[in-house]
C-alpha cells in the first residue's frame, strides 16, 4: 500500500508557454530541455525568459513555469 504512494509525478505533465508571442505546449521542465526539444543546437539561438536574457550556460537551471514568455533570437543580416 505504501508502494502506490511512491509513484513519481509523471514526466509527461505539460506546461503552456508563450514562445515568441504564440502559445506553445511543452513537456520540457527547463529551458535547456525546451531548446533541445526544438531540435536546435544550443549555440544557434539566444534566449530570454520573461524579458530577461538567459545565457546558454544557465539554461539547464532555468525552470519553466506555466505562462512563462520565452523569446528566441537568431542571426540575420543587418545594417
Amino acid at each position: 500500500m505504501t508502494a502506490a504512494l511512491t509513484v513519481p509525478v509523471p514526466e509527461t505533465s505539460t506546461t503552456t508557454l508563450i514562445v515568441n508571442g504564440a502559445a506553445h505546449t511543452t513537456t520540457a521542465r527547463t529551458l535547456a530541455q525546451w531548446v533541445e526539444a526544438q531540435g536546435l543546437a544550443g549555440d544557434t539561438l539566444a534566449t530570454a525568459v520573461n524579458g530577461a536574457f538567459v545565457p546558454r550556460a544557465q539554461r539547464a537551471q532555468s525552470l519553466l513555469a506555466e505562462g512563462d514568455a520565452i523569446v528566441t533570437f537568431q542571426p540575420i543580416e543587418g545594417g
Binding site: V19, N20, Q38, G39, L40, A41, D43, T44, L45, A46, T47, A48, G51, A52, F53, P55, R56, V71, T72, F73, Q74, P75, I76, E77, G78, G79
Partner: protein
C-alpha cells in the same frame, strides 16, 4: 663675382625650388612629406574596439540581391568589419536566415562582426538584445541603436545614453549610433563609449551628409575619439566628403546593397574612402576667390 645672367638664373631656380618644397608643407600643416611608394595602399592604420584595422569602411549585410552577391561585395569592398543583426525567430537547423546559410557566408569572410540592436525603442530592450548578440556572435562589440522616431529612425539620445552606460559596465565595446549633436555625443563619452557613430542622414535615405558643419564641429571638439559616419550615405562622393572632414571611417549598407551592381559599388566605396582619407592626410589646399596662375610665368611677361 658671378655674371648677372648666371645670378639671375640661380635666383630663379632657388625661388622655384622653394615654392615647390614649401607650399605643400604650408597647406598640409606639420605633416610628413615622404613620397608614397607606387601602388602602396595609402591608408594609415587605426584602432577601434581593441583591433587595429587598415580599412576604414564598415559594411552592412542586409538587402543584397543574393547571398552570393553579398559575399562578392564584402570581398570587393576591402572591409574588415561587417554589421549583422538578430531577429526574433525560431528557425530549424543551422541556416538561421531565409537567405540560406547567411551566417556561414559572413563567418567565412573573416571580417570582424559588429552586431546591431536594430528595432529597439528602449534602453531595456537594447541591453537585453546586446546581451544576446554577445553570446550569439561571440563578440563584445555592439552597434547600439535605440530609435526615438519612427519616420526618421532618429536615435533617442536619452535612452541611448542609459543603455550605453549599462553596457559599458557589463564589458561591452559600445559603438553608439547617434545624432551629430555635440553635447549628447559628450554624454555618450561620459557613459564610457570610446567611439561615436553619428548619422550622416536618416538610415537608408541616401541623402549624404545633411549637416557637414555639425560633423566638422564634432571632429574639432573630439579630436581623439574615433568618429564613424553611420547611415545616410548615398554615393561614394558622400563618403569622400566624410573622410576629407577628418572622420575616421564610414559605415553604410543600403548604398551598396541597392546599387544596380552592388559588387562594383562596394569597390567604388572602398576606393572613395581610401581616397578621402589620403586627401585628409595630405591636406586639401585652401580655396581662393580668384585665379592663381599655376604655370610660373608671373613677372615674366611674354611680349610677342
Amino acid at each position: 663675382m658671378t655674371t648677372p645672367m648666371t645670378a639671375s638664373a640661380r635666383d630663379w631656380e632657388a625661388e622655384r625650388s622653394a615654392q615647390v618644397k614649401e607650399e605643400p608643407a604650408k597647406r598640409a600643416g606639420d605633416t610628413e612629406q615622404s613620397a608614397l611608394p607606387p601602388r602602396l595602399p595609402p591608408a594609415t592604420t587605426w584602432e577601434i574596439g581593441g583591433r587595429t584595422l587598415t580599412s576604414r569602411f564598415l559594411l552592412g549585410t542586409a538587402g543584397y540581391p543574393s547571398p552570393a552577391i553579398l559575399q562578392q561585395a564584402i570581398a570587393a569592398s576591402g572591409t574588415q568589419v561587417v554589421t549583422v543583426g538578430l531577429r526574433r525567430q525560431l528557425a530549424q537547423g543551422t541556416p538561421a536566415s531565409a537567405d540560406g546559410d547567411f551566417f556561414g557566408i559572413i563567418k567565412a569572410t573573416g571580417a570582424h562582426l559588429l552586431p546591431n540592436t536594430a528595432g529597439c525603442r528602449t534602453a531595456r530592450e537594447a541591453i537585453t538584445l546586446a546581451q544576446m548578440a554577445r553570446e550569439l556572435f561571440d563578440t563584445t562589440w555592439i552597434k547600439l541603436e535605440v530609435v526615438g522616431d519612427e519616420h526618421t529612425l532618429q536615435p533617442d539620445p536619452f535612452e541611448l545614453v542609459d543603455a550605453a552606460r549599462q553596457l559599458v559596465k557589463e564589458g561591452f565595446d559600445v559603438f553608439p549610433y547617434c545624432t551629430d549633436d555635440l553635447v549628447s555625443c559628450q554624454r555618450l563619452l561620459d557613459a564610457g563609449c570610446k567611439i561615436l557613430m553619428p548619422w550622416g542622414a536618416p538610415i537608408g535615405s541616401g541623402q549624404g551628409l545633411v549637416n557637414p558643419g555639425a560633423l566638422r564641429i564634432l571632429r574639432a571638439r573630439l579630436p581623439d575619439v574615433p568618429l564613424i559616419v553611420d547611415a545616410g550615405i548615398g554615393s561614394p562622393a558622400d563618403a569622400v566628403q566624410a573622410m576629407e572632414l577628418g572622420l575616421d571611417g564610414v559605415l553604410l549598407n543600403t548604398a551598396v546593397a541597392k546599387a544596380l551592381n552592388p559588387v562594383r559599388m562596394a569597390r567604388a566605396f572602398g576606393l572613395g574612402i581610401q581616397a578621402g582619407r589620403l586627401a585628409f592626410e595630405a591636406g586639401v589646399m585652401a580655396q581662393q576667390d580668384m585665379a592663381v596662375a599655376s604655370t610660373p610665368v608671373a613677372g615674366h611677361p611674354i611680349l610677342l
